[in-house]
């Protein structure tokens, strides 16, 4: 006996993602999901960004996804933003239900921007939307300029692409022009940002863009 089911396997995840989006919208929060391989500098970028936003009077908060440890949440708190650490305990990605549980435990009043830093991985997180308004993918010169070609789904599905550690350009055999060409070919609509989480170069421009998006959503 055959039972037709036609059910999306990610249906539960997508429903939770819709709940999260509704919660963000209800509180006027711009939510940004940050994805990238381990060590590309996701947390370092966020440290710089939350500091810069704070200078501008903008309150941002961060949900940190890691397999283990609360190191990243502590770094974000040091930078002056509230952080909530999710430990997946072996899981290679966040799913929307985990974010929903985190949001329930956070104070969403007086929050302007919420960053969700995914587990370092360019494969598994692509399938699980979390309800954020934008998904950023981060790469860096030590990883090689062909990264977009090797992880096309991550780069194609992103709503923003960040090349971090540009202070290392010139020290490594990384062709930034080739990297951005591949990004443009895969995803011409995603804005491109070159930043250094060490020197802070490009962070202001990234924050300008985020705040512009935030005011557009509220208009």
């Amino acid at each position: 006996m055959r039972v037709e089911l036609m059910q999306g396997i990610l249906g539960d995840n997508n429903a939770a993602a819709r709940d999260n989006r509704a919660l963000f919208d209800e509180h006027g929060i711009l939510a940004v999901d940050v994805m990238g391989g381990p060590g590309c500098g996701k947390t370092s970028i966020l440290e710089q960004v939350v500091r810069e936003l704070r200078r501008r009077g903008i309150t941002s908060k961060v949900i940190e996804g890691d397999v283990a440890s609360d190191n990243d949440a502590r770094r974000i708190e040091q930078a002056g933003a509230e952080a909530f650490q999710i430990n997946t305990g072996g899981g290679c990605h966040l799913h929307a239900g985990m974010v929903r549980r985190a949001l329930k435990q956070m104070d969403l009043q007086n929050t302007h921007v919420m960053f969700i830093e995914n587990v370092g991985n360019l494969v598994c997180p692509t399938a699980f939307r979390l309800g954020a308004h934008f998904r950023f993918v981060v790469a860096s010169p030590p990883e090689g300029d062909d990264k977009p070609q090797k992880y096309p789904v991550a780069f194609r599905d992103a709503e923003g692409i960040i090349l971090n550690k540009i202070d290392l350009l010139g020290h490594l055999p990384f062709d930034a022009e080739r990297f951005w060409e591949l990004c443009t070919e895969l995803n011409s609509s995603a804005p491109q940002f070159s930043v250094s989480s060490t020197t802070g170069e490009g962070i202001e421009g990234l924050c300008d863009w985020l705040l512009e998006r935030r005011s557009k959503r509220q208009a």
Partner: protein, 130 residues
Amino acid sequence: MHEYSIAARVAEIVRAASREHNRRVLSATVAVGPLSMVVPELLYEAWASVTANSELAGAELRIEHVPVRAVCLDCGHETESYTPFVECASCGSLRLKLQSGHELDVLHADLEDAPEDASGDCAAADRHRQ
């Protein structure tokens, strides 16, 4: 390795169907597009693992592979690919409009024909034993 969470969700969906019809699950069929980044071998392994020692033990997982269909924005050629690494088969461009390939759905479950009648089965087993 998101295959475990996917296998667990498939198990939940077919378990619900099994309970509703009160019949054992013989197989579950899922549609998988390459852009879901699911590795079939890992999904089979995950399925065996999440169903072991449960009412779904022994149920087979069947995967129907759905191709990526993409139209080239440079030359208009339509390309089909069964891997996530898709480029235009005609001109090699990566500027593509994707029309399918993200699929991740449970299509159907095949259940045992005879309903599981607990009391009947026990009675039959009892008669056997005597």
